[in-house]
């Protein structure tokens, strides 16, 4: 964890609390790009996090990045910060330096014929971004090209939280550059990043769902008593608080180990956990809020719809459990050995010989 973490966490918190308001999110859902919010984020340097200063970045490490993304989730900011950070990091790595633009990385579907147009599905914020870095398969290797979105056609498409996931079509992708990665490696790297981003964002969203619920349970009366005096309401609050604490611990461990050998396995477990518990939190909160929480008017749904959308993105429980099952099958060690990162002398801890 870099020393600046709590400083930039506070900075981001202040910006987003002020600018990612309920009204801002509502305007966004009506089709208005959050330009001043994005401008402020850009000016604060957050889009260049995790990139060394000599490459045009502002420094910071994995933990800083995911700490900020938690804050993005907490305020349900309608901006593609995770995706832009990744794109900028990608260019810094592969081009050596980066200039800040509104861009995302996306993967072209395999082997389109030469004459058919290139279709990119579910591009985050496709209608608002300047550029897409399109990664394509080229033989054993991957290549990429930087494409101006204006050159393509946009078909609008939203996730459950009304976040743009647009389909873009390009007749050609222009000049390509080789990557020293296979297409699969490149895709896995992005999926891993996006998965932990969603974990961080869901952690933040859960935190705010709990805060909204706590507030409501204190304020609201029923049958002449404040809601929070009811055992059923206490149970809902406990269920939420439990998952918030679990999410925190999970995010902390997975971001600390993100770039280590354990990174992928931790991201897999973290995304399974957060995806599985997103609805534990959303359901309890809606039950606690009853009718009011089902209205567009109340902001609860800004967070619960994001939880429902994000749990499916970058692999849901099924996707990551599939990866883990293959991993378990491929190695000799016991689960206890994997969890503790210590190998015993015999193969089977917890099992007779």
């Amino acid at each position: 964890m870099s020393e600046m973490k709590s400083f930039i966490e506070d900075t981001a918190g202040k910006i987003l609390k002020d600018l990612s308001t309920k009204e801002q999110r509502e305007r966004f859902e009506e089709g208005e790009w959050a330009s001043s919010l994005w401008k402020t984020i850009q000016e604060s340097g957050l889009t260049l996090l995790g990139i060394e200063e000599e490459k045009g970045g502002v420094g910071g490490d994995d933990e800083d990045v995911f700490a900020i993304l938690r804050v993005v989730g907490k305020y349900a900011a309608p901006v593609p910060l995770a995706e832009v950070i990744y794109a900028n990091q990608f260019l810094a790595t592969h081009e050596g330096e980066v200039e800040d633009k509104l861009r995302v990385v996306h993967f072209a579907e395999e082997s389109s014929s030469v004459h058919s147009p290139y279709k990119l599905r579910n591009v985050p914020y496709g209608r608002y971004i300047d550029e897409v870095i399109v990664i394509q398969q080229e033989g054993q290797q991957a290549s990429y090209s930087i494409v101006n979105v204006l050159a393509g056609e946009i078909e609008k498409n939203d996730n459950l939280a009304a976040e743009p996931r647009d389909n873009l079509t390009f007749s050609n992708l222009g000049e390509t550059k080789k990557l020293d990665l296979s297409f699969k490696e490149a895709l896995e790297d992005y999926t891993k990043f996006l998965a932990l981003s969603r974990v961080a964002m869901m952690t933040g969203a859960m935190e705010n769902v709990l805060a909204l619920s706590t507030f409501y349970a204190k304020e609201r009366q029923q049958f002449g008593r404040p809601l929070h005096k009811f055992q059923a309401i206490q149970h809902h609050l406990t269920a939420m608080a439990g998952e918030v604490a679990a999410a925190y611990a999970t995010l902390a461990v997975a971001s600390a180990s993100y770039s280590s050998d354990l990174g992928k396995e931790h991201v897999a477990m973290a995304k399974i956990e957060l995806s599985a518990n997103a609805n534990v939190v959303a359901k309890a909160a809606h039950q606690l809020h009853a009718g009011i929480g089902m209205t567009y008017e109340h902001e609860l749904h800004h967070f619960t719809r994001r939880l429902w959308a994000w749990r499916e993105e970058a692999g849901n429980e099924t996707y990551w459990a599939d990866q883990l099952a293959s991993l378990y099958q491929s190695r000799e060690e016991t689960i206890w050995e994997s969890i503790t990162h210590v190998k015993g002398e015999e193969a089977h801890a917890g099992s007779t010989v």
Binding site: E207, A211, Q234, A246, A249, A270, E273, Y328, I335, G350
Partner: protein
Amino acid sequence: MRQLQLPAFEFTEEQKEFRKEVRSFLQAEQQKGTFDTHADSWLSAYSEEFSKKLGAKGWIGITFPKKYGGHARSSIDRYIITEELLAFGAPVASHWFADRQSGPLLLKFGTEEQKEFFIPKIVKGECYFSIGLSEPNSGSDLASLKTTAEKVDGGWIVNGMKTWTSGAHHSHYMITLCRTSPQDPKNRHGGMSQLIIDLKSDGVTIRPIQFLTGEHHFNEVFLENVFVPDNRVVGEVGNGWAQGLTELAFERSGPERILSTFPLLEEAIRLLKEKEDHRGLMEAAKLVSRMWSLRNMSIGIAALLEEKKDVNLAAALVKDLGNSFEQHVAEVIRLLLPAMPRKHAEDEYARLLAESILHGPGFTIRGGTTEILRGIVGKGVISA
């Protein structure tokens, strides 16, 4: 909500080495046939011989000061030992409460004489404690306790009855919460004190409460004019409730709230790998992810406790989530690997499944029922 923000804790290389040492010892003992793996072993698997072996290794009371025979090591080292013992399902019930609660309590509130008398024996794995809290009509409402200690010359005369006392039939002493002044409706938790009762004293009668499996873990302890000398009062007279509470956070968030059915999960994964059952392993992977997540919480709390932070809320959450998880393991696994669960099966899987199911109801009842915990947490969340 700051209290829910748990940190990542990374074990040092030294700590990993230590874990390896503990694990190698357990593997060797298991190979020698010293013990069989059991689910929920901290409640149900007694072995004085094994406790003494652990004592000889220096692994009981490892955090206790050297001057009383301890090793003054960190609570993280204790965490490692506990995890390994439970993952192996080793027989740790005999010394469990002395190591986890009574030792630390005496070190914190006890007199010098008490420390010198009890701690070295605890550390050797020779001196076992029970906790005398619940009473027949108290349920979760501990403030309604009725066991009384009346002041007499040189000590106290205790009358009453304790129930659900784990291991009293194996223990030497019981730390007993008694009422030392009459109940005050305005201060329901006042007027209680902790007394160390020698379970061999006159007037003590221990009767088994058979567990639903037929096994004997719990007891009723009848106290009839039991004399307890003044030097066996722990801490301050009247302060028993507060003293008892201090250790609760540690008790609530330890590995024993997560790992009671881990041996079943490990065995199931071994079998699923053997069968190359990919879809089955996928379901098991979700259980592993949950365990990992709860363990991250539990270790995060242990790290904060080491820094003397207040972790009451998060600790209660670990117990709530952990206990549900422990039950959930058996419910998922039984569908992945259908079998006839049997207590005395030769087949290890069928036996661990039976133990996990039969002990299951206890997980969410012991140490404060789910309902009580959620009330505590609900209030904690509201006032945070």
